[in-house]
């Protein structure tokens, strides 16, 4: 064997060695994701074509999927998820953007204080804040007390017993909990924009609103896309709020899809096949919406 050849083979083994140790670094994580996400996902697909009680299952073809169309609770749950998504996510993201661009102002005082206060709701657990809001909006709760004192109401209004007001409370609670979270992402994104761009805009006489729409929004687009996808994903999977704020009520009027899946699998007589079919619908919705958002995000380039 010639010397040159030997050298290349040595080099090869060195890079091969690195290649192999590279695989060692990512093996545990990859392995876990395969077992904990992809295998269950595949099993859920198989399960969604079966029907029966508990673990007594037999093949049923697309029966479960056909059943979804006639299930009024499911249709209500689907509607609710979309109501929350279409009302809450845009308000929250816009509010977070406005707050972030205000806090990005170098001349603003008490910046740290405002930022901490607005981000604070994120430190509370989902169950906790759901219960706090449930208590605040109860018939004998604080909000009713204020409304009565101010003379808007004579007796307490049961916000959580009426479908529309109950949904409104859920939306308010969601905005309260997540605005600060999204704001942090925008603040992080804003640090990558040179501050001089803003100063130049100010010297040119651009109004804050114009600066917001012409500079902040376009430059933050990747971050906005990221938060939009994350929020969509989260809203379609709402569970804790539906369970602890309204318990899906009144009469399933505010129930979400995840909550209904939980009830079908673990609360009522377990019907895993039907619940799996429903969960697959969420999966498809999440994927389609993420795809649409990415396409829309790309086009504006």
């Amino acid at each position: 064997m010639s010397r040159a050849n030997k050298k290349t083979s040595q080099k090869l083994t060195l890079s091969k060695k690195q290649n192999i140790s590279g695989w060692f670094f990512l093996m545990p994580a990859t392995f876990l994701i395969a077992i904990m996400s992809f295998i269950p996902m595949f099993r859920a697909l198989i399960l969604s074509f079966k029907t029966g009680v508990g673990n007594n299952l037999k093949w049923a073809g697309v029966f479960n999927y056909q059943r979804l169309g006639q299930d009024t609770v499911f249709i209500q749950a689907l509607k609710n998820n979309f109501i929350y998504l279409l009302i809450q996510v845009p308000i929250m993201l816009l509010l977070a953007l406005v707050l972030a661009s205000m806090l990005n102002n170098k001349h603003l005082r008490f910046k740290g204080l405002f930022r901490t206060a607005i981000f604070l709701p994120c430190a509370t657990s989902l169950v906790s804040y759901a219960i706090i809001f449930r208590s605040l909006f109860a018939v004998d709760g604080f909000v009713n007390l204020i409304l009565i004192k101010l003379g808007f109401l004579e007796v307490g209004y049961n916000f959580l017993a009426h479908p529309n007001s109950a949904r409104m409370v859920i939306i308010l609670a969601l905005i309260w909990r997540w605005t600060g979270y999204n704001m942090v992402f925008y603040l992080a994104g804003l640090q990558n924009i040179e501050y001089s761009v803003y100063e130049a805009a100010m010297i040119d006489g651009a109004s804050p609103i114009k600066t917001f729409f012409k500079i902040t929004v376009p430059l933050l687009k990747p971050t906005i896309l990221l938060t939009a996808i994350m929020s969509t994903n989260g809203t379609l999977q709402l569970f804790d709020e539906s369970v602890n704020l309204t318990n899906g009520g009144p009469a399933n009027a505010t129930i979400t899809m995840s909550h209904y899946i939980y009830n079908l699998s673990f609360k009522y007589v377990p019907n895993f096949g039907y619940a799996a079919a429903m969960s697959y619908l969420i999966l498809i919705l999440v994927a389609v919406l993420a795809f649409v958002q990415m396409k829309v995000g790309d086009k504006r380039d």
């Binding site: 690195q18 290649n19 140790s21 590279g22 670094f25 990512l26 545990p28 990859t30 876990l32 994701i33 904990m36 996400s37 295998i39 269950p40 996902m41 099993r43 859920a44 509010l95 707050l99 205000m102 806090l103 405002f114 901490t116 206060a117 607005i118 981000f119 604070l120 709701p121 994120c122 430190a123 509370t124 657990s125 989902l126 169950v127 906790s128 219960i131 706090i132 208590s135 604080f142 007390l145 309260w176 992402f185 992080a188 994104g189 990221l226 994903n233 999977q237 569970f239 804790d240 369970v243 995840s258 899946i261 939980y262 699998s265 673990f266 619940a275 969960s279 969420i282 999966l283 999440v286």
Partner: protein, 268 residues
């Protein structure tokens, strides 16, 4: 005009800050008051904290749920940081076609809603005898695409010359990771720790599914149980909520700064 705009900004930010903090303030005040005082709208700390606490521990095993929550969350956070930072580093430093492909598939897992994997996971775990165990609690969320991505981003800013130099000095790949990457990426680890601990502590759906034994329940489950009676004792309820919130609030304040730094690194 400019002055008007400025003061508008301050007023707006003050109102938003007030709304953000008020429910938490109300929670703390209510925890120290009797249920009757809470419904009366008392806004000053009361004397009923101890009484509420005694009522709370007489209906629920708080210390056990607290211990459970800490145990699950700490073990999960440590393993998750370990496994995901290794993977994020590996995907960036040793990247080639094969690994980039695996990464793309892992990112797809981000899109999988938990509802879709919950039922098969429950079936798998009950067969494997993992109900009511720490392993059962943590296995589905140890390895998350989000954390892997976070660490991959931070590895991107890690100078490759250092790695080459360390290799020449005879350090093996794992030593480079452990001795060079780990100490320089403190803020990323802090951000990852904050996110993972909070998610683990606050997780509700999955523990509700697999913790079938009352002895294994977590703090959020305990708090949710408190609302199940017909009459709600607001003082006791808010004390439960407060106890469930204190650990995450502490973590938040301690790690707030590095959290922001870590996220900044990731969004770049």
């Amino acid at each position: 005009m400019i002055k008007f705009k400025r003061s508008f900004q301050y007023i707006f930010l003050t109102i938003v800050s007030f709304i953000s903090v008020f429910p938490l303030f109300w929670m703390v005040i209510s925890a120290t008051n009797t249920s009757l005082d809470v419904t009366r709208g008392v806004m000053v700390p009361g004397m009923a904290l101890f009484e509420n606490f005694q009522k709370l521990i007489s209906v629920q095993n708080v210390s056990q749920a607290m211990m459970n929550s800490f145990k699950y969350a700490i073990i999960l956070t440590l393993s998750s940081l370990c496994i995901c930072s290794l993977a994020g580093y590996g995907f960036e430093i040793f990247h080639d076609k094969g690994k980039d492909f695996v990464m793309a598939i892992i990112l797809l897992a981000m899109m999988v809603p938990f509802a879709a994997t919950m039922i098969p996971l429950f079936q798998m775990f009950s067969k494997a005898g993992l109900l009511n165990t720490t392993a059962g609690f943590m296995l589905p969320t140890i390895s998350t695409p989000f954390l892997i991505m976070l660490f991959r981003q931070s590895a991107r800013s890690f100078p490759h010359d250092i790695i080459e130099a360390a290799r020449i000095d005879g350090l093996n790949e794992f030593q480079i990771f452990y001795k060079m990457f780990f100490p320089t990426m403190r803020s990323t680890y802090a951000a990852a720790m904050t996110i993972t601990f909070m998610n683990a502590w606050n997780n509700y759906l999955w523990p509700k599914v697999i913790m079938t034994d009352q002895k294994s329940i977590t703090m959020p489950m305990l708090v949710a149980n408190l609302t199940e009676g017909y009459v709600t004792d607001y003082g006791v309820l808010m004390l439960g909520v407060l106890l469930c919130t204190i650990p995450t609030i502490i973590i938040f304040f301690v790690l707030q700064k590095s959290f922001a730094e870590g996220i900044t690194g990731a969004v770049k």
